[in-house]
């Protein structure tokens, strides 16, 4: 069955590596969304002006600045990495470029730009000593931040399209599907369905026209790993999709990218064009008779389009409303043809499974959740950013080792995982591994992998209200339980946050939650009550504090705030009274002032302007 290919991938790889050797010492500057916002493009220009330009190297200067994808350590941007010296410089500004450049010529280190480990209070000279990197196992994001994502040669030099070449040479779909099945890979988009099983069912309906779709509609607020793969290593995604298309017998594919990711769209377009021009995509790929046309579809801002059947409706040009699932997509999907739909991260895992073997992948993780998972670590944690860890890593390791603990020395309260479909994890879950089944058991889910860390100053009820507001807005309106249920759940939560809640409201919330869960057609509705249910389970006392004591323990909910002037600190300067827009503050000059709480609108103007910090919120 095996075929001889016209393109020898090893030769291509060697050629690419030689090209890269010519660049001399590489200076990596992260040019992803985060660092660009902090001015990374100016840094790159500055390095080029000094002569570190791959296009214009001289004998005196043997170094090149390379714009790379996201290294994941976004909190510390702009980041400059010198790979051969294992050096990372953080918070780099335009003014620092010359110093870094000179230090490379003189073989010294710019101490003041090194990362300081907040736990050890120590400057880190070697990347391998950095917890944030050292404790990760990168597979899907292996090349992110290492290569220039806009260059096919850079991708080839680290092995891009080698797995596709292997698959086309062996020329046996059964082999590919078996490898994926044995690897234990499960869908990384949220559901956690066995990838191999999905591939096999589409393969069974092969023969006519079939499609492969990549779901890049990463809509969960707080998750951005798919953006990173698409922006930082687009060829890996394309290669994974091509392997999938070969396995299931498809010759056309779509990548559905949300409109909020313009840079990802731009880089994917370029990657597809480059790969087609060199014979890695398009017709007769590498001379194997296998064809694949990959199209890009831009989303238009609808969260529900991340749901597979809604996504298909959207590609077909319609309102993105989910369809009933009694007919399987493997049989009747896009344009009524057999369709394989996977998430970006799922596809990104495929090339390495093919190259390193199913056993290698299955050796990581837990019994039922194999391999690694990327998480977007955000919120009140010291090191925010993207991380990839084996699926048996515990929450404690993620938050405290990689994340460096809670910022400003505050107390850990909870982690919201899986966005608006997920739930929250608390102190008691810190030592639980982050695997699919364990998380489902405690009422949360891996979801897309967004981890929002919350401290004692975060109001859990307000967060539940926030997610309910999100799902209410994003409900497509097709089925009544979701459309009306989310609206009513939100109304109750708003009532509680305003301080007008009653204890019966908690029962009503739980009852409604069950109706929405059971009566909705798609995953959006079915999982919409999760944040409410899990916060009610673990933080019921906080709900009760809002209802019975009319207090927000975290001091967040405006309606429940009470401003008070501390008499012993007030000097009677009258500044607060003059700033109060509703005349709620009274008192004589040089005497302690008072706030009339019945008039107070809680705008906070008095507190902001008080020179003696005499005004407190209770």
């Amino acid at each position: 069955m095996s075929t001889e290919l016209k393109i020898n991938i090893n030769e291509e790889k060697e050629k690419a590596q030689k090209l890269i050797e010519k660049q001399g010492r590489r200076i990596h500057v992260c040019a992803s969304t985060g660092c660009v916002a902090n001015g990374a493009l100016e840094l790159i220009e500055e390095f080029k002006k000094l002569g570190a330009d791959a296009q214009a190297l001289t004998n005196e200067v043997k170094m090149s600045v390379i714009p790379t994808g996201c290294i994941g350590f976004c909190e510390q941007g702009c980041l400059v990495v010198i790979p051969d010296k294992k050096l990372t410089y953080v918070h780099v500004k335009k003014e620092d470029v010359k110093e870094i450049y000179d230090s490379l010529l003189n073989d010294t280190v710019v101490e003041r730009l090194l990362y300081v480990d907040p736990a050890l209070n120590k400057k880190i000279v070697n990347n391998e000593e950095m917890n944030f990197y050292a404790k990760q196992t990168r597979t899907a994001m292996k090349n992110c931040g290492i290569i220039n994502p806009e260059s096919l040669d850079e991708a080839l030099s680290v092995g891009a399209y080698s797995a596709l070449s292997k698959v086309l040479e062996i020329n046996d779909p059964e082999y590919v599907i078996k490898e994926i099945e044995e690897s234990g890979l499960r869908g990384r988009g949220g559901g956690g369905f066995a990838t191999g099983k999905k591939w096999r069912s589409v393969y069974q309906h092969r023969g006519g026209k079939s499609y492969v779709i990549c779901n890049g509609d990463e809509g969960d607020p707080g998750a951005f790993m798919d953006r990173s793969v698409m922006e930082d290593d687009p060829h890996k995604l394309l290669e994974g999709m091509a392997i999938a298309a070969f396995a299931v017998g498809a010759d056309e594919a779509y990548i559905y990218v949300r409109a909020e990711y313009p840079l990802a769209i731009k880089r994917l377009r370029k990657a597809i064009a480059d790969a087609e021009a060199r014979g890695f995509l398009g017709n007769n790929i590498m001379g194997s008779n296998f064809n694949l046309k990959i199209n890009i579809r831009e989303g238009a801002g609808a969260f529900v389009c991340g749901e597979s059947s809604a996504l298909i409706a959207s590609i077909e040009g319609e309102r993105g409303m989910p369809r009933p699932k009694n007919i399987h997509m493997a049989e009747c999907g896009l344009f009524k043809r057999p369709t394989l739909l996977n998430n970006v991260e799922t596809f990104a895992n495929v090339p390495l499974i093919i190259l390193n073997g199913a056993k290698w992948f299955a050796s990581m993780g837990t019994d039922t959740s194999k391999g690694t998972k990327t998480f977007a670590l955000t919120g009140e944690v010291n090191n925010t950013g993207l991380i990839e860890v084996p699926m048996n890593t515990t929450l404690r390791q993620i938050v405290f080792d990689l994340g460096g603990g809670i910022r400003n020395g505050k107390k850990f309260k909870a982690v919201q995982i899986g966005g608006p479909s997920g739930g929250c994890l608390t102190q008691e879950h810190l030592d639980m591994p982050m695997d699919y089944d364990q998380l489902t058991k405690v009422g949360a889910m891996v979801g897309s992998g967004g981890l929002v860390v919350m401290n004692e100053d975060t109001c859990i009820v307000e967060v539940a209200r926030f997610f309910m507001n999100f799902t209410k807005n994003e409900s497509c309106g097709k089925c009544v339980p979701c459309r009306e249920g989310t609206k009513n759940m939100l109304a109750i939560l708003e009532k509680i946050v305003r301080g007008e809640g009653e204890m019966e409201d908690l029962d009503r919330l739980e009852e409604l939650a069950q109706v929405v869960k059971q009566g909705s057609l798609c995953g959006l509705g079915k999982s919409a009550p999760n944040p409410v249910l899990s916060t009610l389970k673990y933080f019921r006392d906080e709900y009760i504090a809002h209802i019975k004591d009319k207090k927000c323990p975290a001091g967040v909910c405006t309606a429940l705030k009470k401003y008070r002037i501390k008499e012993e600190l007030c000097k009677g300067c009258t500044k607060c009274a003059r700033n109060c827009p509703v005349g709620a503050i009274s008192g004589n000059v040089k005497e302690a002032h008072k706030i009339d709480t019945s008039k107070c609108i809680k705008c906070g103007a008095c507190k902001e302007n008080c020179p003696f910090k005499a005004i407190v919120v209770e």
Binding site: A37, P221, R319, M321, E380, T384, G450, C476
Partner: protein, 163 residues
């Protein structure tokens, strides 16, 4: 706000329809291209597209337009201010930033575009820039770690540029 609306050049729309083969499965892309020209979707354009693509009607096109948050029936401002209200941004204080912008531009009663057409304001659910929370995007430029004061300085700068 009607004075901000522009008249529609059907020739331009014809070009777009032709580029996408008058194919109804390309409707969303077609609408995106038209909105890129006018910064909103004029009613005439919606009707015209519905009448000229086989299998569609103005009503179905209108249905698609109103479904997706990206499409607007009202003209957007020269500067489109998007305040991210994703989870990470929300937890780190995106609401005070939004409130500051709304106050500064005197946007009230659900109106989201200033009368002079210079600014429009909206919230978006997540820009994937969570490490920069709270983030604000103005015409595709991302402003990291915003505070009410910082965002006002940015708006003042833009106002000065347009004096």
């Amino acid at each position: 706000m009607t004075e901000l609306k522009t008249s529609v050049d059907f020739k331009k729309i014809d070009e777009i329809l032709k580029e996408y083969n008058y194919n109804k499965t390309n409707l969303i892309t077609i609408l995106q291209k038209v909105q890129a020209i006018y910064r909103y979707l004029p009613e005439e354009a919606i009707s015209y597209i519905g009448e000229n693509i086989e299998g569609l009607s103005p009503a179905t096109v209108y249905g698609v337009v109103t479904f997706y948050a990206q499409f607007s029936l009202e003209p957007k401002g020269k500067y489109e201010i998007k305040v991210c209200d994703g989870t990470a941004c929300h937890v780190r204080g995106s609401m005070p930033v939004l409130e500051a912008v709304r106050k500064k531009l005197s946007l009230q009663n659900g109106k989201m575009t200033t009368p002079n057409g210079l600014f429009s304001l909206e919230t978006v659910s997540c820009l994937g820039a969570c490490s920069l929370a709270p983030a604000v995007v103005i015409n595709e430029k991302v402003y990291p770690k915003m505070t009410p004061d910082a965002v006002l300085i940015i708006i003042d700068t833009l106002l000065k540029e347009n004096e």
